[in-house]
């Protein structure tokens, strides 16, 4: 078990290192960054000033190792635009994104788990087909469009929820629902498939032969086994949600990490963009490791010996 964790950690570190490299390379794609930063109306002298000020006159390799060295200890550089340390900026915005992601995940689980279980119990009935249709519709829905529609209906016409900002917890509901939409189809399908498989297994027949109640068989025996992959996938889905939150944050004007990235791209503030990619990737890696851990915790067969 420990060996497995150590191996995963090593791979995770290697992936993080690769992402660091990719993030660096990505921001250098346009060739001369100084020109982009200085703007279209800059003179040659302006460009030179920019180049010196941001260390862009050094060889690329030096810049790279400087970035890697500092990022590894948490120093993510300084934002050109905000004139502040990037790690501070991200640290401020991260709670918003994390809250948004967790809200989305909780909503998704609250919907997917019961739907999946019921669809499995009523396999091949009209209800089951309805659930599958709902999953299909959820997959096709463009998230930003759904966000806008919800804003129009619930924010404007009904006035129930605030249409932007995070002044109150209600501000997280609509964006959370939109995020949940992206995860519900996969989680529902997985729960349903897992439950159908579990219910058909021999140990469920034994449970029935023991005269246990329907609820006990379904929720205690079947779900416990069916939920194992669902929980792991849920952690990974959270990772996707966090990575993809940029669109939702823009639509609902939530000042999270995604929104910061979008602003920074518009302003060519490449230290922030670079660092953002790295931070989000590291969070995703952490979540996949958490998923593995959860798998081991929930499935006794994966532990020890």
């Amino acid at each position: 078990m420990l060996r497995f964790l150590i191996r995963r950690l090593i791979v995770a570190l290697l992936v993080a290192a690769t992402v660091m490299t990719l993030a660096f390379a990505m921001t250098r794609l346009s060739g001369d960054l100084a020109i982009s930063i200085a703007g279209p109306s800059a003179t040659q002298a302006d460009i030179e000033t920019v180049r010196k000020a941001y260390g862009l006159d050094r060889p690329l390799v030096t810049q790279f190792f400087d970035w890697v060295g500092r990022a590894s200890v948490g120093d993510l550089g300084e934002s050109f635009f905000f004139k502040r340390r990037v790690s501070e900026l991200i640290g401020e915005r991260l709670p918003v994104t994390l809250t948004l992601g967790l809200t989305g995940l909780v909503i998704a689980l609250l919907v997917s788990l019961p739907l999946g279980i019921l669809a499995a119990v009523k396999e091949n009935t009209a209800f089951d087909r309805l659930v599958q249709i709902v999953a299909l519709l959820g997959q096709a829905m463009p998230s930003f469009w759904l966000g806008l529609l919800l804003m129009i209906v619930f924010g404007l016409q009904l006035g129930w929820l605030p249409i932007s900002g995070t002044d109150s917890w209600q501000g997280y509901i609509m964006p959370g629902v939109v995020l949940a939409f992206s995860a519900i189809p996969a989680l529902t399908r997985l729960t349903r498939a897992g439950m159908i498989q579990a219910m058909a297994s021999d140990y469920i027949r034994t449970a029935r032969a023991k005269g246990l109640s329907r609820a006990s068989i379904l929720l205690k025996h079947a779900l416990r086994n069916a939920a194992i992959p669902v929980v792991a996938i849920a952690a990974v889905q959270l990772g996707f949600m966090l990575g993809g939150s940029i669109v939702i944050e823009q639509v609902f004007a939530l000042h999270g990490v995604g929104f910061l990235a979008w602003e920074s791209i518009a302003k060519n503030d490449f230290p922030v963009v670079q660092a953002d990619v790295l931070v989000l990737a590291v969070i995703y890696i952490g979540l996949t490791m958490l998923a593995d851990l959860l798998n081991a915790v929930l499935d006794p067969r994966l532990r020890g010996a």
Partner: protein, 317 residues
């Protein structure tokens, strides 16, 4: 003494296929009743339909299906659940997959007693430990905290047996409990079952395809073929005096040391079990029977009910 389990003319169909086409048997209290037949003859389905553990798509009908006099056909699912694991218990063929991998042995055993008799966790754990010792498992306390994947097949089957006995059932149905085990373990489990049956006065309905097992433990035997019980008799009587051509054929197939001679070919029953659809007429065994004639194709075999020895054939013994 009233019968423990009465099955009369049980019929079970899955869609168009008739798995059981009129099986009848009776299990008396304290009796070891073996239900014998080849694969696909419907013996497992019979056992499952007694406990009503069939899949939803199965249709079950019977003239009478009673346990300790109580009509099982009229019982709701909840009523059945009250009996299952309680007064009647069942163990299955595949010990490797019959236990829930996510819960400890102890929790799976105690939940039965707590459900049916409302016992406390402490009392249930004590009983579970007792029973584990009873079935020959050493260090029962440790075993209770282990997970199924940590036990061997033989151990798991012993756990299944102990679990089935938690609530002191009167009837234990064992569906081929040793088939999936190593040969050496098979003998141990059988001995265990026979011993328990004797000590606890259980009624045991043992499903098997192995005549050797029948000879060793059964007090009464019912032979099944193509969904019907074709012969039923006390063990000694059946082996000495088989009346149905199928039984006779079966017994010829078993090499008995001493009786059989070298270079003598082993008996065999030519042909295979027919697929019995709804339009099937006559006797299912006719293609493979030495005594069959034209009328066997259409006439329903008659049931000869002796005092203790029944069989199903158009022709007399």
């Amino acid at each position: 003494m009233s019968a423990l389990l009465e099955v009369e003319k049980l019929e079970v169909t899955f869609g168009k296929t008739a798995a059981v086409r009129g099986a009848s048997l009776t299990v008396a209290p304290g009796e070891t009743h073996c239900l014998v037949g080849e694969s696909g003859c419907g013996k497992s389905v019979t056992a499952l339909s007694v406990m009503n553990l069939l899949v939803r798509s199965a249709q079950r009908r019977a003239q009478r299906l009673a346990f300790q006099g109580e009509d099982l056909l009229k019982l709701s699912d909840r009523g059945m659940a009250r009996l299952r694991g309680n007064a009647m218990a069942m163990i299955f063929q595949e010990p490797m997959t019959s236990l829930n991998p996510a819960y400890t042995v102890g929790s799976q055993m105690t939940e039965v007693l707590r459900r049916h008799k409302g016992a406390s966790q402490r009392a249930a754990t004590d009983r579970a430990a007792d029973l584990l010792a009873r079935v020959g498992i050493t260090a029962p306390g440790m075993r209770l905290g282990q997970f199924p994947h940590q036990l061997s097949g033989g151990l798991r089957q012993r756990v299944m047996i102990a679990m089935a006995l938690m609530c002191d059932p009167q009837l234990l149905i064992a569906d081929e409990p040793t088939t999936a085990l190593d040969v050496t373990v098979q003998a141990q489990i059988l001995r265990l079952l026979a011993g328990l049956q004797r000590d606890l006065g259980l009624g045991l309905l043992l499903i098997t395809h192995d005549l050797g097992i029948v000879a060793r433990v059964a007090t009464r035997v019912s032979v099944m073929y193509a969904g019907e019980v074709v012969e039923s008799a006390p063990t000694a009587e059946l082996f000495a005096n088989p009346k149905h051509p199928y039984t006779q054929g079966l017994l010829r197939c078993v090499p008995v040391p001493g009786k059989i001679q070298r270079d003598q070919p082993l008996g065999a029953i030519p042909g295979t079990v027919p697929r019995v659809g709804p339009a099937f007429e006559g006797c299912a065994f006719r293609e493979r029977c030495d005594f069959a004639d034209e009328t066997c194709k259409h006439a329903i075999p008659t049931h000869h009910a002796g005092a203790t020895h029944d069989f199903l054939c158009r022709l007399p013994a």
